[in-house]
């Protein structure tokens, strides 16, 4: 084990998989000499050549289409979309082409494509560079959606995503790149679709993923002061979603809180809440609560931006409310 950053973890996964599969291609804006907006592909073009690490014009739709075409004929591809906000430009290619091709063609094609991007707020980059749009891909059968929170998960999941014969949307968080964690030097992969209990607990389950997982863990820590023993669950992959682990945890704690960064309305938390209601209704001691971003575009000004996304305090408060509710019952 060594301590490396989330950025390094992703870099390692890409380098190792590029080494493993000589036909693997990477496409994206400024990913060559420049190394990408978040320096993920730095040095890769020198190592693997400009054909395999392909700088593209600012043409998100065409680029995703091209990567899809290459994948369909067997050249496993990774596309970097600089900000998830720009994925809006490639929605047709992702949703109508990439996701549906296998089904529409009766299972006669594989689309081994990974679409890497990063989302989230926290840098005062305003409404078009700060969104959390993962929710859109939950209802698009044919896509997998992975959102790692730690360097360990980022590396292991990205490697699996690349080897997967299905299209995967792999969403990083801009504020996680510099976070650090233990990562083995040896080769490993992590299966997609397995949530992980990052902290065990008995009183309530805080469900989260990506950067909000770190907040959830912090909140769990603070909750100890109130004598509350929170379990923290990291979904890691939103599609497939690990219902078993989710339901098992909540059946145990009988109280759940979902934390996500994106707008509350129509978010991932809604789906989790609905699933928990469907599966744990009888056991629940208090209603599933959602802590999520406000239903506003992300404002530029840092004071406002901060207020637009969840805080650790909000999570703590929601957890306390859940516990209070239980006592009243």
């Amino acid at each position: 084990m060594r301590e490396i950053s989330y950025r390094q973890a992703i870099q390692e996964a890409l380098w190792e998989e590029m080494g493993r599969d000589p036909e693997m291609l990477i496409f994206g804006e400024d990913i060559g000499l420049y190394g990408g907006a978040y320096a993920i592909t730095k040095g890769m073009q020198e190592e693997f050549g400009p054909e395999r690490v392909r700088d593209t014009p600012i043409s998100e739709a065409g680029t995703v289409g091209i990567a899809a075409g290459a994948s369909v004929v067997g050249a496993r591809s990774v596309v970097e979309i600089m900000y998830i906000d720009f994925i809006t430009l490639a929605m047709d290619q992702i949703v109508n082409q990439v996701a549906k091709m296998r089904y529409m063609f009766g299972g006669k094609v594989e689309v081994p494509l990974v679409l890497r991007t990063q989302g989230g707020a926290g840098r005062s980059s305003a409404a078009q560079h700060s969104q959390s749009l993962e929710r859109w891909f939950l209802g698009v059968p044919g896509l997998k959606v992975v959102m790692p929170a730690t360097p360990y998960d980022a590396k292991g999941l990205l490697k699996t995503a690349i080897r997967d014969s299905n299209p995967v949307i792999f969403i990083e968080h801009k504020l996680l790149y510099n976070t650090k964690g233990q990562v083995p030097s040896e080769e490993y992969t992590i299966p997609l679709g397995q949530a992980e209990v990052k902290k065990e607990g008995a009183d309530l389950t805080i469900i989260s993923y990506s950067r909000m997982l770190l907040y959830a863990l912090e909140a769990a820590n603070k909750l100890k002061e109130y004598g509350i023993d929170a379990e923290v669950l990291d979904l890691r992959s939103l599609q497939p979603l690990d219902r078993e682990t989710l339901v098992a945890s909540v059946k145990k704690t009988r109280c759940a809180l979902v934390v996500e960064e994106g707008c509350k309305t129509g978010g991932v938390g809604a789906e989790i809440s609905a699933i928990l209601t469907e599966n744990c209704f009888r056991g629940l001691k208090s209603p599933v609560r959602r802590v999520a971003g406000e239903d506003v575009p992300i404002p530029c000004s840092p004071v406002l931006e901060k207020a637009a996304i969840p805080s650790v305090d909000q999570i703590v408060r929601a957890a306390l409310n859940s516990q209070k509710y239980q006592k009243q019952i």
Partner: protein
């Protein structure tokens, strides 16, 4: 041209024509899945001429008006018809239908219900070929209406920039649904847009299969030689409405007659007969043979079962991958 090739071209065009007529016929009997069928009657010279110069492992992408492309790429008529019927034995197990038919093994990377949806995919297949140096060529078929989609621009720019082995074949039938070319494009021809992508653009008589074949051969050779993409604008006409139920109120009878007089199948057949390359008897035999094949295809489709309800959940993902 080799008379054998000429006969093949004629017979392929005839096959496409008769296939499409059969589609209209069985559609009217309520046999097909849904109502979205866009036949290419009148346009047969384009897929025929273009695909006649392709190798079996070359790639094509197709459109909502794609039956001709697939037939010209040697589709099995039975499985094709079965797909149009929505049957389990179809190319896509009934899941795709006319607008999403595909067969990767035949190098057919998919029809598309999204106008312009295939530009990127075709360009990406060509990208992979260039990278692998596998000498394959990709042909991207599209209607002139599709050329107004943003991804046309994005894809052709990249293909021109990277000199990819691809031929963009515009089937300019002068209408996108009801919208005439002159009310959808700032330029008079599509070919003249090629300059913006540093590739040759050429207007081709899309009613003359020989002309199409000639232009396609040059373009495919260029692509195969690594000299980059070409944009071919094949001017043609669809004799019927956009799809069933479209009475073409937006076109004049005169215009339709003008083009119908140039019917690619009829004119080419007559030419071959006049030049003594095809006898009337051979023509009849061809018709009979095609009729039989289509009857067989329909019988196959008719007798095939509808997909089982279990299959609804299959083929969303490659199973067992990602673990």
């Amino acid at each position: 041209m080799d008379p054998k090739v000429e006969k093949e071209l004629y017979s392929m065009m005839l096959l496409i024509r008769r296939f499409e007529e059969k589609v209209l016929e069985v559609f009217s009997f309520g046999k097909l899945a849904g109502r979205m069928f866009h036949v290419c009657i009148g346009q047969e010279a384009v897929p025929t001429g273009v695909c006649s110069v392709l190798k079996p492992d070359d790639y094509i992408t197709s459109t909502h008006r794609g039956h001709g492309h697939f037939i010209a790429k040697n589709a099995d008529l039975k499985r094709m018809m079965a797909e149009l019927y929505g049957k389990a034995t179809g190319y896509c197990k009934g899941k795709g239908g006319s607008m999403h038919i595909a067969d990767i093994e035949l190098g057919h990377l998919g029809a598309n219900g999204i106008v312009g949806g295939s530009f990127g995919i075709a360009t990406g297949a060509a990208y992979a070929s260039a990278f692998r140096r596998d000498k394959r060529v990709t042909v991207c078929f599209f209607g002139e209406g599709a050329a107004n989609q943003g991804i046309f621009h994005e894809s052709l720019n990249m293909a021109g920039l990277w000199k990819l082995p691809i031929v963009y074949v515009c089937e300019n039938n002068f209408y996108a649904l009801s919208t005439p070319l002159e009310r959808s494009s700032a330029t008079e021809t599509l070919a003249e847009r090629a300059a913006a992508y540093d590739m040759p653009g050429q207007v081709v008589d899309g009613m003359d299969v020989a002309a199409v074949r000639k232009a396609a051969l040059e373009a495919v050779n260029r692509a195969r030689a690594g000299e980059g993409p070409t944009l071919l604008e094949c001017q043609t006409y669809r004799f019927y409405g956009h799809s069933r139920g479209d009475g073409s109120v937006y076109r004049t009878k005169e215009e339709e007659e003008f083009w119908k007089a140039r019917c690619p199948v009829k004119t080419f057949g007559e030419r071959l007969v006049a030049e003594g390359k095809l006898s009337l008897q051979e023509m009849e035999e061809l018709e009979k043979d095609i009729e039989e094949r289509l009857a067989e295809a329909c019988a196959f489709a008719d007798e095939s079962p509808y997909p089982s309800l279990d299959s609804l959940y299959e083929d969303v993902f490659v199973e067992g991958s990602g673990n």
